[in-house]
Symmetry: D2
Subunit: 131 residues, 4 copies
């Protein structure tokens, strides 16, 4: 598990008074940085190795401005060239949002997927979600 | 079907050179405005009737800056107090992204769901997705 | 003058119930697209010719969700290699925000400014702000 | 001086490969949280005391994804009911962006400015910018 602590931004609220739903994919992407670093250790955007195939987000409770949130990031499926990332947003002891993103190991110049290496799989296995 | 034509914004690109994935939930929310208007005709945010329970987004192709996109919005499930909205993003004749959002008819003061009215259901039926 | 009509997005509101101040630089950037097109007719982001040196924004009145806004874009200074863009946001007949951005004609590969051409200056002169 | 350390988000880059200019007002607003807390200690958005009158931002160098930034926040003018906040963004020992925001002590229900109290002024004086 990777944990990322974020301060909700006032601008991330909406007129209903709490964090707008479109903010969560941004917090979740920001919290996948350790995975980006695993695939592109130098964080060079010209040598990027991952693309996002899909994501789904489930809202369980309102998330508010004024208190930090913890984003917990786990691997919960490792395929041949793709894997699923499971993430939760916690605030004040409440799981407010959860979601799954499917990422693909990808070669941008050839525009095709690449098999995950044994080393990548071993590193990801350290962060598996276990219920 | 509702159609919303949008110009991708330069700031919505990322370092990979195309539209960042976190932008799509924003375009899709913006394109659900006609549904917001159906439930809150005066668009008064203090009298809001809908909440988002979940959404999922599937990326089929890159979306680019420099050419307009068309967001097509359909109803594809009508439940007792909730309904699903199916949306597609099209650019240059290509369906680049699709997604489903589950919305709940909701009373913010009592914090509970409300049954959809016959009138609301009739209006939504005009925009059903038919494959 | 260039005019761009935008629908404020629900997500662009904040907990105070109106459009958050950080949204205006985004609307203004989006409304400078015709200037981007003037300098990079093919809108190829790999061959970009402009950078932003500074901007200032003045808030005159609240901007609201639920009604479209008009962004008016003018040139109000043409220098040797730089120029100023003056922009106004209007909603319901009220000028709610105004701002000035200083743009520089720039070579990204050599990382230095380039003199504006006579043709560029002539095109910009058609959009001068005259009080 | 208040210091806020932020991790630039991948989604905050644009097609030019570095952080988009419209992101800076967001980082600066997020870094004014300690001032919001000074005026609204309970961070209750229904009892908000500040509005933004204007801001200007100057870009000195590119800001990049992959390395944290430090936002330094100072008070550099204290008026009767308003004050100026001076902020700098630093990355890898380089001041990449600076800006000034003018904030007004404001009563949202009566829609008018309120004189700063002696206590508020004393607290702000602890964070004055001195060149």
């Amino acid at each position: 598990m990777f944990v990322n602590t974020l301060e909700p931004r006032f601008l991330e609220t909406d007129a209903l008074g709490h964090i707008n739903n479109t903010v969560l994919p941004m917090w979740f992407e920001a919290s996948r940085d350790p995975l980006f670093r695993l695939f592109s250790p130098d964080m060079d955007v010209k040598n990027w190795k991952l693309i996002l195939a899909s994501f789904n987000i489930n809202f369980h409770a309102e998330t508010h401005y004024g208190t930090s949130v913890e984003i917990k990031t786990y691997i919960n499926r490792i395929g041949n060239s793709s894997f699923d990332v499971y993430q939760e947003c916690w605030q004040n002891g409440i799981k407010t949002v959860s979601g799954i993103s499917t990422m693909v190991h990808f070669c941008h110049s050839e525009k095709k997927s690449i098999a995950l290496t044994v080393a990548q799989i071993e590193l990801m296995k350290e962060h598996l979600f276990e219920q």
